[in-house]
Amino acid sequence: MKPFDYQRAADTSTAARAAAKGAMMIAGGTNLLDLMKLQVLTPDSLIDITRLGLDGIEPTKEGGLRIGALVTNSDLAADMAVRRSWPMLAQALLAGASGQLRNKATTGGNLLQRTRCYYFYDTAAPCNKRMPGSGCSAIGGATRLHAILGASAQCIATHPSDMAVAMLALDAAVEIEGVSGECRTLPLNDLYCLPGDTPHIETTLAPGDLITAVVLPPARPGRQTYRKVRDRASYAFALVSVAARIDIVDTRITAATLAFGGIAPRPWRDDAVEQALIGQPPTRATFETAADTLLAEAVPMDGNAFKVPLLRRTLIATLTTLSDGGQS
């Protein structure tokens, strides 16, 4: 690691001011320190936000859940309200990383973790995300972990989070405190940017913005699950994943919210997929139409072309399971 100054924030405004001046916030540190050891990131100073007390999980007046940004992935997955009412979130958290990492990784940090693109990690390789303008080594390189949707000619890296995919399908919102102390709430869907010509800009956060909490709206009817496909049974990033909730009333799908991981530069959501399901009978034909809609604009490369049929099958299997095996 390069030398850095370390400061422990006593309150959120200290943290925000330090970050606005260029310090990087550190909480769980499991991703940041890994990147600092490899000198992918070389901050001059760190501001430790772990003692800000943002580690509570509490019900909201509306019947939802407010999750402090410093709640660990372990504590969130073990929370009985999450397990009962938002089970896809517990499943997604438990599908991520290892027991040790989940004990350190935080809710806010999980949202803001960086891609695991091999070339982003390799400081000897060109990477437009790490060094804007240097080129993309993944295009034409190894692309097993890379995007088939939402990528650009400058970057095809994927967002690695499982948790964020479930939160996106649950219509979560992010509470943010700005550098001058003002607070705002942002739909999670509006937190992430697509790479376009600026793959180094990954979120809509401003310098000094501190994520203080994630808010889940009240649990909604229907069945839900998180399904992840990866290269080994545990402790591996998603090749593809599906977070899905559907509600069926009288042989028609009345509600559907879905999000996808491992396939795009951000947790992926496509309203057209949900519209392809709502009002339709829960049949294989309906699910195939939804999958075709999702994948209509997929741009696979040699190394990740398998994700197109894999995601298609995974989505159909997930929806079939949620609808009691589907109807013929």
Binding site: P3, L33, Q100, N103
Partner: protein, 183 residues
Amino acid sequence: MARDPGEKSNMQTDLKINGTVHHLNADTRTTLLDALRNHLGLTGTKKGCDHGQCGACTVIVNGRRINACLTLACMHDGDQIITIEGLGEPGALSPLQQAFVAHDGFQCGFCTPGQICSATAMLTEIAEGWPSRVSEDLTGHVAATIAEISERMSGNLCRCAAYPNIIDAILEMADGQTAGTTG
């Protein structure tokens, strides 16, 4: 403003390790793992990958297992840390350490301190009812099965592949834990 590349920044940190308070004065870059091994002489905790992938550095901080390689020592001021030296020592092994010996739960032994620290805390997680990815019921009783232990221990690699015996050792402890709570 850019730093002088040679400039170092030190931090004073108090760490309570295995019941003893240690005053550490170290470069801010010092990981908890390097502090234990290189500053405090507690070499039972091993450095494998140094990137959180192998679990050899697993220690228990404030009751929770973590990778000591992926955390800064200076972030742990006042924390309670248990390393393999704190779980048992020659002549006074912990029950899980004894089970590893009885079941031959290792070959070269390099991953063993991490395996035992991890499994010790993992059994507490099961006792607290934490579900795992393979639990059939997210809200129901958690049983310590081979599938559960394999999933929950996936952050600890063993290059000798002593996994069947490691699992047997942990299962013996898990059975004892269950018997203890019911009987």
